[in-house]
Symmetry: C2
Amino acid sequence: MPSRHLKGGCFSLSKEARCVTCSLSSLCLPLSLNLEDIDQLDRIIKRRQPLKKGEHLFRQGDAFECVYAVRSGSLKNYIMTNEGEEQITNFHLPSELVGMDGIDCDVYPISAKALETTTVCEIPFTRLEALAHDLPDLRQQILRIMSKELRDDKQMMMLLSKKNAEERVATFISNLSQRFKRRGYSQFTFRLPMSRNEIGNYLGLAVETVSRVFTRFQNAELIAVNGKEVHILDMDQLIELAGMVDCGSAQPPEKIAAAQ
Amino acid sequence: MPSRHLKGGCFSLSKEARCVTCSLSSLCLPLSLNLEDIDQLDRIIKRRQPLKKGEHLFRQGDAFECVYAVRSGSLKNYIMTNEGEEQITNFHLPSELVGMDGIDCDVYPISAKALETTTVCEIPFTRLEALAHDLPDLRQQILRIMSKELRDDKQMMMLLSKKNAEERVATFISNLSQRFKRRGYSQFTFRLPMSRNEIGNYLGLAVETVSRVFTRFQNAELIAVNGKEVHILDMDQLIELAGMVDCGSAQPPEKIAAAQ
DNA sequence: CGTACATTTGATCCACTTCAAACTCGGTGG
DNA sequence: CCACCGAGTTTGAAGTGGATCAAATGTACG
């Protein structure tokens, strides 16, 4: 299989930290690259020390230099309103790419902060760009990732402008569930890495409203909640309640839309 | 004084319709390309017959084949909720690129419809991709355009989840004003290409609310409105009211964020 | 010049926010 | 080992911004 020799200088941390052996590679940047190309990508990626909960990966206004792939843990992205309050724009789970919206600025337009202990792969953007010059598949994958984020953003706009509180929370939970599933975790039982406050901020709701909807869902036996632990008891109804399916958010674009 | 006509750079269509002579090229895809490269880009671009008001450029679910640059007129993008109502996700003015969020689907995830008589440049995506293989500047420009859209989307999320009705409308008007200005039109006097209904849909407000805010602004002598004609009387206060500056939405990323 | 549609205005209603207070839980130090 | 603290969460009560309903006015266009 891998004809290439292991690159020199892989000690303690870096030993296992290679794209070829990474269980997330099929969801991440290396997708659709062949082994040699993955190896090239590997060489420009730095594995950083884990971030502790609450630490920033980067701050709005920092010089834009790298994009990052989450390896474990989770992050939130947020921007600041001019009154100084934060608006969370995204949560990131393992395999997801962070920082792509800084490409045409010299600085990151958003901040990224760890919700728990989190490890990331650091990818210097200029080197990624240079590599993409030679690897059409990598280029395409970058575009795919960005256009997927664009589509997710449109779904989020729809949520914020058309859905009521229950639909928002149902959408949020079922979306998380699908993402966990894709990453090999249970789709029915998981731990929310973010606080109620952060959920509310993200969904455009007051904390109290989020809390109330959680209890309502619990009473309706849709879910069972214990602090941050969530069990989904009735997935069908939850998705039904969520309203619209997040087409393309969880699954690759099969022939879903073809039916239309 | 009435707003000038949109001079997308064409009288008899195909003859004048070349990127090199197009007045929009500095805002559009050719930005930062040299003359030769522009010429190459030119060759893959098709100029279509103008769309009439209400016609679709493409529909959600159509096979994804091309991206489009608006040359004159304007478009709206929208997605359908599963109840069949539309959610407008964007309005597009001349020089703006449409359809990039379809890249990783086989189909367009949104619809694009003309708000008025509109001409576009049609760019077959596979050919664009092939060309981008040889032109790093073009590649970068594509990334820039997409990442700019990502940033605009985050701003929109902030608007939808944190701003009240007046702030939303003020943001909307001042944002349009800046975009018109960049394109060489008056920033103080312009014609809204969309209906009140569409504004409300886009901003997550009921039509009635939009209308009320317009009259309130008019009474406060912030703006003067006559149907779709808008005069901005007090730009400073309007921007003040809009709350947060759309950093990067209108201007290229100067050293705005550096101050932080 | 009249019909259909878009916009405006007024009156009422309601989902969510806000304010206030109790409760839970993980951690910490006496 | 347990009392205590503070942040996060839940619950209750009251207030409100914008939605909805209804109707009048304005406007485009065949």
